[in-house]
């Protein structure tokens, strides 16, 4: 017999009480934001694909099988094979890993670094703020392709460098939005109180200001997820992204899509559909989140 303390019992009760609330909340979300729910479902499927790729398909996404190249979709290869005989479905499933990795890491890194910098800029104000703003202006205005080229050329190609290249402009954008929200918070008396208490700048920025700009942060974050995936595809298209033989949707579209667009259309269509669906899912979900968190927040 297990005995529970009074507090534990209470917690248990609370848990039990909370459960229906959670599912109720989910239901509420689905009812009020059916598009958002659909988006979330797409994202979940993607995450599922990425995590369980090894179990979903038994083909090797990298190994060439020249005897079976350019096979049209059939029972074995449900989406056909590419010019190296690699199963297209397998590469799409594994490609979800690359897409999610690039999407989540660059969106999180971009939004979070932007959050800290934006809040800091608002908090310190004055010259630091002015200078920081100009730097962000430059980064925002700067063509992505040059940044990406410089990153890829100095660090080399590879998933991690693609992430770096995509993260940089995200930082600038997040910092901008966060800063404008944080400016209002700086004026609230409790920040002065925290300062009077002698808290360090770091502590005030991270503990007191950052949590209060969570709404714009989350909105920027979700909006960035889809964009990161699109950017990865565009960089791959220009030859600056992820490289063979790593399975990546953008890469699958780059050479094969155009070359075999007609003789083997399955190579061109499915990776494009995968990208579109993923970005679509993230955007629908992001929009719903935006509506819930702050219906008044502008698109930018």
């Amino acid at each position: 017999m297990v005995t529970l303390s009074e507090a534990q019992v209470e917690a248990k009760f609370e848990q039990l009480a909370a459960k229906p609330t959670l599912s109720k909340r989910l239901w509420e979300f689905c009812r009020k934001q059916p598009l958002g729910a659909a988006g979330a479902a797409v994202v979940l499927v993607m995450i599922f694909m990425a995590v369980f790729a090894d179990y979903i398909t038994h083909f090797d996404p990298v190994k060439n099988d020249l005897a079976n190249m350019l096979t049209a979709p059939d029972e074995t290869y449900i989406l056909g094979t590419d010019q190296f005989g690699r199963d297209a479905f397998t590469r799409i499933v594994y490609g979800a890993r690359t897409a999610l990795l690039v999407g989540f890491v660059s969106a999180f890194a971009g939004a979070t670094i932007g959050l800290v910098l934006g809040v800091a800029s608002a908090y310190f104000g004055g010259r630091f703020d002015l200078l920081f703003q100009r730097v962000m202006d430059v980064v925002m205005a700067f063509p992505l392709i040059i940044l990406a080229l410089a990153v890829v050329a100095t660090l080399g190609t590879g998933v991690q460098n693609v992430i770096v290249a995509i993260t940089i402009p995200f930082i600038a954008r997040s910092a901008r939005v966060v800063r404008s929200n944080a400016l209002a918070i700086r004026e609230i008396p409790y920040i002065d109180a925290a300062r009077a208490l002698g808290y360090s700048h770091t502590r005030i920025i991270l503990r007191h200001m950052a949590p209060n700009v969570m709404a714009p942060y989350l909105i920027i974050l979700t909006a960035s997820l889809g964009q990161a995936i699109l950017l990865e595809a565009a960089l791959s298209y220009l030859g600056l992204g992820v490289q063979e033989p790593i399975p990546s949707w953008g890469l699958m579209l780059q050479g094969g899509a155009e070359e075999f667009a007609e003789t083997a259309p399955w190579i061109a269509i499915w990776p494009g559909v995968a990208i579109s669906l993923a970005v679509f899912g993230f955007n629908l979900f992001g929009d719903a989140l935006r509506d819930i968190l702050d219906p008044k927040l502008r698109a930018r």
Partner: protein
């Protein structure tokens, strides 16, 4: 107001200067050498001396500070220099391509507005009905599709269906003719990239139209109008729309600024000899002088549009001027 404008103008200078420094350094960080690309890139036999002479001729052997001074100094002497690839004046090269890029950008913006505003209005008026959902799905789909993929599908679709329906495969012209010389030829070439890009850019503007309109519809004076028994159409057209347009116009202006740089991929797919393609070519050739100027144009457009938006807001809302 003038003080505010002057202040904002002054703030543009560090941004532009920063961009100049950044592009100058970044380009030289990227490994590679235009003369190597030019001579060795074909796999053909070449003379090492030809590379050395080439480097000397286009000024790559000059010390870096001197190269930077020549780059920035050019803005004061109104001489943008010559392209390292063609050795022709950069102003000439840009002039050749500017009209095309501008035309596509304007056409794409028109397409975006034509799609976004009606859809945004419908979506707001029929909020949370299946019409709203359908419109939003349509508009988000535009932003979700990679633009080069959409471009490929458009061209392939044109080729395949024109052959199926008319017997002859048809594709848009691949050489630019100015609209005043051959308006039909011009339009039949540029309408496709304009639609592909415009559809994409309509998504953001449609969303903005919807939320701005929804916001306005919740305001008191609309309720008053409704209470007075005005019909919905009049309310939307006369009262709500006018007030909701401000953020929409802003977002379109900002999108337009991005568009100049955003045509890079579209111009590749449709073989348009515009600034975006020139940009990709110049970067690919390590043509420093040309790339620098093109980057500065993109930055300048961006900065100017932001400036215009800021001034516009300040004019509307005097509080901004004094903050």
């Amino acid at each position: 107001m003038y003080k505010y404008i002057a202040k904002r103008l002054m703030l543009m200078i560090p941004t532009l200067f920063g961009a100049a420094v950044l592009v100058f350094i970044l380009l030289r960080m990227i490994p590679g050498d235009i003369c190597e690309v030019r001579m060795a890139g074909s796999g053909m036999y070449f003379d090492q001396e030809a590379i050395d002479v080439c480097r000397e001729n286009i000024g790559l052997n000059k010390p870096l500070p001197l190269q930077f001074i020549e780059f920035v100094g050019g803005y004061f002497t109104l001489d943008l220099g010559t392209s390292m690839w063609t050795e022709k004046p950069i102003t000439h090269e840009i002039q050749l391509r500017f009209a095309l890029s501008l035309q596509v950008a304007i056409m794409a913006t028109i397409v975006a507005i034509a799609i976004a505003i009606p859809l945004g209005i419908i979506s707001a008026v029929k909020q949370n009905t299946w019409i709203d959902y359908a419109v939003r799905v349509f508009s988000i789909a535009g932003i979700a599709m990679p633009s080069f993929w959409l471009g490929i599908l458009i061209i392939l679709g044109l080729l395949v269906y024109s052959q199926a329906w008319f017997g002859e495969p048809w594709m848009p012209p691949i050489v630019y003719v100015p609209p005043w010389e051959d308006p039909i030829g011009n339009l039949s070439q540029l309408i496709w990239p304009a639609v592909a890009t415009g559809y994409r850019y309509s998504a953001v503007a449609a969303r903005m139209t919807r939320s701005a309109l929804l916001e306005v519809l919740r305001e008191d004076y609309i309720r008053t109008a409704r209470a007075k028994g005005l019909i919905e159409k009049v309310i939307i057209n006369r009262h709500a729309l006018k007030n909701a347009m401000l953020p929409v116009v802003t977002i379109i202006a900002i999108e337009f600024a991005f568009l100049i740089g955003g045509l890079v991929v579209t111009e590749q797919v449709f073989n348009l000899n515009g600034l975006g393609k020139l940009f990709v070519t110049s970067v690919g050739n390590q043509d420093y002088t040309m790339t620098q100027q093109l980057v500065m144009i993109v930055v300048l457009v961006f900065v100017l549009v932001n400036f215009a938006v800021d001034i516009f807001y300040a004019w509307l809302d005097p509080r901004i001027r004094y903050s």
